[in-house]
């Protein structure tokens, strides 16, 4: 199951030469804002290690995260994930199925108890004892608790496992929750994104193999090396934002000139991710470069934060009906207040002009 060969040996067998791996590690170090001297250090440290066992559990997810990672053809930083770890259980790509697969999972957890990395994608539904998502008759929540017991750390891949994601969107009919809402006693790394950038996973694994611990995390549990800056801060269209050049519609002159998409709903200023620098598909592009504003998909509850196409500067002030109703209430209260004031006025006037009370005759 877990290779007894070192990672370096396995890489050589896969046709990834020492120099290619050194090149990968140099690139990773650069992406993670580590000094360039760390490239060779990482390469050397990782090549000497044995691959850790990784168990990948898919819960209430769309499989987009798995797709994002497995779609590369040539050896790239993304596919390097599979060389760095011994992926002992991954339902989408493993050959075994049914009882055989269940046996594989049980054996992997037993053999590597306390040492395996648990990767989770998808949220965990809780309602009806988790009946809305079961694998082989076992609910996700039960599977998660069982698998977490022997895990060295849990890596939540995608916004669903990190924060609940789309299943958790209002009204959350399955009572979907993130992994961190259930497991409290294991280190958890959140790698959100819908889907997340695959090389971030590679980076976290490389860090773990080099240093033996998890990278520094921000308050939402995301590796600071990749989620430390907002899209806005590194966006190549930032000069247009600063100059006040905005696209007003998706096909106007501004859009064709590549101007800022703030007015078309881009959530870049409040979204932390590495899309603007690392990009997608080996640095090909990212949503804004392709002409669409950022959805904010690596932030919690991004699906419930209002339209993707209304600018960040707008807010939910209501609508014409609520304002109209409020106006009606206000006018009614004002009229009532004025009426009460007039009535009081009348009373004073009446009291002032009333004849004085009859005095008692003193005879």
């Amino acid at each position: 199951m877990s290779a007894t060969r070192t990672i370096g040996q396995r890489l050589a067998e896969e046709g990834v030469s020492r120099r290619a791996f050194l090149k990968f590690c140099t690139t990773l170090a650069s992406m993670m804002a580590l000094p360039p001297s760390m490239g060779p250090v990482m390469a050397q440290a990782i090549a000497a290690k044995r691959r850790p066992s990784v168990i990948w559990l898919p819960f209430q997810e769309c499989t987009g995260c798995t797709e994002s990672i497995t779609r590369s053809g040539t050896p790239t930083l993304e596919t390097l994930i599979f060389d760095l770890v011994s992926l002992d259980y991954q339902e989408t790509i493993m050959a075994a199925a049914g009882h055989q697969a269940e046996g594989v999972l049980a054996a992997a957890m037993k053999e590597n108890f306390g040492k395996y990395l648990l990767i989770v994608d998808g949220s965990v539904p809780l309602i009806e004892d988790g009946a809305y998502s079961c694998i082989g008759g076992q609910s996700n929540v039960a599977m998660l608790k069982e698998a977490a017991r022997g895990a060295a750390a849990i890596i939540c891949v995608g916004t669903c496992s990190s924060y609940g994601g789309i299943p958790k969107a209002d009204p959350n009919p399955t009572q979907a929750v993130p992994v961190s809402a259930i497991i409290k006693d294991k280190p958890i790394v959140n790698i959100p994104g819908c889907p997340p950038i695959p090389v971030v996973i590679t980076g976290v694994l490389a860090h773990y193999l080099t240093f033996g611990n998890l990278p520094e995390l921000d308050p939402l549990g995301r590796p600071k090396a990749f989620y430390g800056e907002t899209i806005h801060d590194r966006c190549y269209r930032r000069p247009f934002y600063d100059q006040g050049r905005f696209a007003k519609t998706f096909d106007d002159e501004g859009a064709r000139s590549g101007w800022c998409l703030y007015e078309l709903g881009c959530k870049g200023p409040t979204t932390y991710n590495a899309c603007a620098t690392v990009k997608w598909n080996s640095g090909t592009s990212f949503p804004i470069q392709s002409g669409h504003g950022c959805l904010g998909c690596s932030e919690p509850n991004f699906w419930d934060k209002g339209s993707f196409y209304r600018p960040l500067a707008t807010a939910n002030w209501g609508n014409a009906q609520t304002v109209g109703a409020a106006a009606g209430v206000g006018v009614a209260l004002g009229a009532a207040a004025a009426y009460a004031a007039r009535k009081r006025q009348d009373r004073f006037v009446k009291e002032a002009s009333a004849p004085p009370p009859a005095t008692k005759q003193e005879h």
């Binding site: 290619a20 090149k23 140099t26 650069s30 360039p36 040539t74 000139s257 101007w259 080996s282 090909t284």
Partner: protein, 146 residues
């Protein structure tokens, strides 16, 4: 209506280029690294992607550092070019992936960049393989006489 390809798309490059002056401090850092290499033998590197350098800044650095005698290409998961600048020991390294996109760009200060040199282990493995080839092709002790 014409196809999607008929819609003209222009990216206004003018706003995103221009010298920022951030190239000069890089030279200062290279000087310090070179001094350290000369005195202690310790090599070092500067990650160009980690610095706020515009395309014009990179051009300026390239021109200022110039070209040396050595130019190397490594084919490993895509092409990487290692070029000695006009300053001995200062190497400009550009790593590209299999699609030709730049994945890393750095300036390394070393006698020979780390990625170029072979390791002792690798050389040991080569010796064994060479010996195996030599062992195969050597004829048996008898010499044939015409």
């Amino acid at each position: 209506m014409g196809g999607v390809g008929a819609i003209p798309v222009r990216i206004d490059q003018a706003l995103t280029s221009g010298l920022t002056g951030n190239g000069r401090p890089v030279l200062a850092e290279l000087a310090a690294l070179a001094e350290r290499l000369a005195v202690t033998g310790a090599s070092g590197a500067i990650d160009l992607q980690a610095l706020p350098l515009s395309p014009a800044d990179l051009e300026w650095l390239r021109e200022t550092l110039g070209r040396g005698e050595v130019s190397t290409t490594i084919e490993a998961a895509g092409p990487s070019s290692i070029e000695e600048t006009g300053f001995a020991g200062v190497w400009w390294i550009t790593h590209r992936n299999a699609s030709g996109q730049i994945v890393a760009e750095l300036i390394e200060v070393a006698t020979v960049p780390e990625i170029v040199a072979a390791t002792r282990d690798e050389v040991g493995a080569s010796a064994a393989r060479l010996a195996a080839i030599v062992g195969e092709s050597v004829p048996s002790g008898k010499e044939t006489r015409a």
